[in-house]
Symmetry: D2
Subunit: 383 residues, 4 copies
């Protein structure tokens, strides 16, 4: 409703601005009995962290997460998990030329017009820094999904006009983290890196896209029509900062395919259940997961904050002026966007796992309704 909450049963509620004191989120709906530590979360945060390579902003944020509640003796208690991440390297000085003049195509103008206030420090709430919360929550969702045999991964499949060839899920898992661009195809990754540095040097930035895939998703997730798996993925992915396009399966290309070409015939699997011969449908049929891998793509436009001179309109002076956005900004978004897209995918799937009753909302270890007062992960006697 207010933009800072995602999920129906697995709910993430966030706060924080780019140059505020801290970022944070509250996760509610995580079942009890999940072993969870700050390290589990930190791993993904480090993948999203600024300053991790030459092609990311140089802002130095350790992004250390602190768990404030919801855990006892290393296990979730089923009650809300409060997370806080301090902002340590906020420097607003650089933004002064833009305090009374909006940066081109940034959220500056729309936020100021909406709220009548200029949260000028690094774009305040409109900054992609917010996604640190998503990645933290997503790491918990991933841990829950892994228990259910659901695995997911993303990688950068295009930067500018440099496009990666199709790669397998195994290749994505094996290679995507081995280069700064997070492209699972090493040769293409090198080309992308070159292209990015080129634009970076001339003070410009470039767009790109991310391919995502989830395997092991059970049949039956999704509540057509308005809450279909594709509709909720659409919301999740279009919420990712700078996203201008979302697709799954054949996506935009599907419009050039005939029904006969795109339809996937049925055969039987080992257990004798119907299973599609191919997966042109991208793992979703009639808005519900089919049991096949779910795959799709998210397009992120080029970062709007660039050191190149651009025209802006100063509402204090009433004058037009040419300004450069000095500061520490990414020349390209997909490399750091990979863990963000994975997080939104995980948050969407875990929510449907709970909504479909496939995950016990109270605790991960037992059947719903059963309870066992002997079982106490947080009971000192157990140690």
């Amino acid at each position: 409703m207010n933009g800072n909450r995602f999920g129906r049963l697995f709910q993430v509620t966030t706060f924080g601005e780019s140059h505020g004191e801290a970022m944070g989120c509250t996760i509610s709906g995580c079942p009890a009995g999940l072993e969870l530590s700050e390290e589990d979360i930190q791993e993904d945060l480090d993948r999203r962290k600024p300053g991790q390579s030459m092609i990311t902003t140089s802002r130095g944020e350790p992004d250390d997460v602190s768990i404030k509640s919801g855990i006892q003796d290393g296990y979730t208690t089923g009650t809300p998990i409060g997370l806080v991440i301090q902002n340590k390297d906020a420097r607003s000085g650089k933004y002064e030329p833009f305090i009374t003049a909006p940066r081109p195509s940034h959220g500056d103008f729309t936020y100021s017009a909406k709220f009548g206030t200029r949260n000028w420090g690094g774009g305040g709430r409109s900054s992609a820094r917010e996604t640190v919360n998503w990645v933290a929550a997503g790491a918990i969702a991933k841990k829950l999904l892994a228990r259910e045999g659901i695995e997911l991964k993303a990688h950068v499949n295009q930067i500018g006009d440099v496009e990666a060839p199709d790669v397998s899920f195994e290749e994505i898992k094996e290679y995507s983290e081995e280069n700064d661009v997070r492209c699972a195809h090493p040769e293409t990754a090198a080309e992308m890196q070159e292209l990015i540095e080129e634009y970076q040097e001339e003070g410009d930035s470039i767009g790109g896209s991310i391919y995502f895939e989830a395997q092991g998703v059970p049949v039956g997730l999704g509540a057509p029509r308005f809450d279909s798996l594709s509709a909720r993925l659409g919301q999740a992915m279009m919420a990712v900062p700078a996203t201008t396009a979302f697709e799954f399966g054949l996506g935009r290309e599907a419009r050039e395919w005939t029904g006969k070409e795109r339809n996937d015939d049925w055969e039987f699997d080992e257990e004798g259940n119907p299973t599609p011969v191919e997966n042109d449908h991208g793992g979703i049929q009639g808005g519900i997961s089919s049991g096949e891998p779910i795959y799709g793509e998210v397009t992120l436009h080029a970062p709007t904050s660039i050191p190149k001179s651009q025209q802006t309109a100063d509402w204090e002076t009433g004058e037009l002026k040419e300004e450069k956005v000095i500061g520490r900004h990414d020349p390209v978004l997909p490399p750091r966007g990979v863990p963000v897209v994975e997080a939104m995918l995980a948050l969407t799937l875990v929510d449907f796992m709970l909504l479909s009753g496939r995950l016990n909302p109270d605790r991960v270890d037992d059947q719903p309704g059963e309870y066992d007062t002997d079982y106490h992960p947080s009971n000192p006697q157990n140690e």
Copy 2:
């Protein structure tokens, strides 16, 4: 949550299956004092209606809407509006080969697997017949938006590999309803028609896409991050049956643009407010409407029900079989999808108009909080 409700403040709740007794929806959150008749709704229903041309299913449904509540003396009362549309031409016989075997790439299998039941009549709830409810609700949303100076329209911009050139909003309004394909570019419309008939003759179907645009949308709609205007449009459009891709602004192409190329410089408008020189951002900046036209595109895959022979797996007999989907089906979806896309756009926008306080949730005529006991549109004395 359960898939049959859309909207936060302007809520549409639907029911109905393809071959059930009736379709229907309840609209709550529509302010009082809006003049509304069944005719207002019927107009859009007729645009979506089956059997309207040679390139739509021949199922004969008048789709007459009946308003059951929420109106008195021709004005909305601010209370829920109940709509019912009878199903008059349901014939299920044709589906029998597929009662125990799923149609390829249709929702048959996933629905049966999820609910453990085979709602075999015309696909039951998974049928696009459901969208009759969306269009009915959307017609009310459009009327509310028109009062606020918001106009919206869609047209078919591609079928198969036949793509329409860019057209203006005025052209869309003028030409899109003048041909069966609903493409605002007459020459292209003719080509599309030809292509569709070709596939239709050989018992196949074809995909396509719809371009939409909204003008007059005020600055400030959207609640970043998860409820940004783009995120909620993403959910709305990805819920449209057969949709595989959604984009706004430059969409997927944005990945090949640099920041300098895509960024829209600022100038001043007549009132001296900052306004972007161009609209490559598609009317949304930082997830919030910028005051510029909002435009985007939705891709619909080819209809899955085709008379061509396809392989399916019969779970009763445990045997594979070749079957044709006999019945009355559309050879292409965008022409009838146009009013559906418009409806989802209207429902999304009117919801944000209420959420942002730009529309008075109690009644359309006054300022929030003011009340005037003299004003009674439904008072017989007024007649």
Copy 3:
């Protein structure tokens, strides 16, 4: 949000006004595979029906329910259940003196002030006729709960100053439907009847209260803090028209008890699980069900529409006037309120059964996640 929806996973969305064409509701979130017929629903509707005795309004409404969707071959399909109930005996003539003057303590003024419109026919949406929808939806909830071994029942425990002695759950089930007042204590019922007729004769009305109890509720329902079982019961019961008080367990009396007196010691049950020695806590501890019977009480004020002369203020003429509310009204509410309170209790409990994973949201017959394509209650082959 808009007042016509109840429930989070088991959602009821209603429409209809007292003198409109029809009442109706859509139930979404009801699992597939539940055997359901109109008769199942009708039974409870008949208990709420007007004109059923001398101490109810004489308005003659058969209240026949018609199921429009969500059922195939006698079983729920897991998709939304659309219900419609026609209004057959609406006569608005009697209300004319109150078209421009509000009835004392009725919703006339607040509705007109809020919506700027006078839905004068029988109070429109503010009429308790709306509860016909709740009872219809509640009947489905009761059927689901019965499968889980949850039984619930209410009866009238006080009218005016005539109070019934405590009765057992078995007595409530056995006797409450045997008299027009719906009091499970026959002697008291007779006194109540007398008292009601007395007030009825002198053109006045009287208040009363309803006791409710649910047995077989499993341990663990409720999501403290804001969604505790007691909080959601509070919302549900305070929504019942004319309710001015809600309590559970010792209720208001608890303020005079000490901790030692009220606390229920623990012992072991047969299975060796802790179980409270008494049930002064009313089946809810820390906002979560304890496994003990849940009991409480709802107070309904006297009907506001009475034939006695009262002063009102005419906003057209600007004059005060003395008017009697002619029409067909109940002299007392609890007797017809019993099925309404039961419905709200059932709707609240079934929602928590789904939220806690104790009820499979997809289908009633299987474990979540398991699916079995052989099972098709709606498959003609089964017949």
Copy 4:
């Protein structure tokens, strides 16, 4: 849904356990431009604080609130407000006898049974310590309401069998904070204090109730039926820890009143609008605010944690045992419950002010839809 969120447009999301590292909440939906400091919040926190008098727990918590986001240069920015309150004086040792045996009538058993985990430290999430979050959020709500001319206040009207006479709203404001019991009638307050100390000395505790009142509430708040003002107040108040009863207006007593007695006749106010002669309806008619003061009562049972010996069942040893709850506990709840009840009242009202469009969701200073890029409370140039 998960129990840690309250509100639809003004949303409070909380985390924290009694003996965890910190408590905290996120407020979203607070309009921009509200002057807000930690002091504004601290004032109410100090009224709820433990150790403030001899009749409260001796646990020493400063309850200092820290604002992490949503504020710039002393004004709200319209983005989520993150609050954190450290837990400084948690001592769990005392609870050890109850690690494997539930305290009578406490949430120990139900929480353990639901989550399969024993969050034994001070009752973990089930502790009333959670209400520190509610009071913090409520303080912000009160500030918003005050701008709209809405004032609210509560006081203790009964402890055990000591009942206070009726007092005026002015008396409540003047006297309720002048004694430790927070009863606005000094003589009665003294009696209550005596009674409490008596029970305290004998190691027992006692129940009581709180009267609340709100003035200046505009006509038209509330969305009948399920979201009526009374229904949402019912949820809000029944969520308060230890609450067993809620009522408004005549409450439970209404069942002994006739329609003629209870109905409030209409007259005209200065502006010539209809206004009720009396306020037996408690400021709510047909579920919508009438413009009259809203008043009601909440009953809180005696604290369950008492030093008196009680029987419990040890699920580890399988044995019954007699145990005293050693620790730092309140002998009575209403005195500290007063700010909690006020907070829930404020949160409920501010939510309806937003839902009814009476409060601009974007910013407090302007009309919805208007925007003024000159206005920047957070613009350094303004300083």
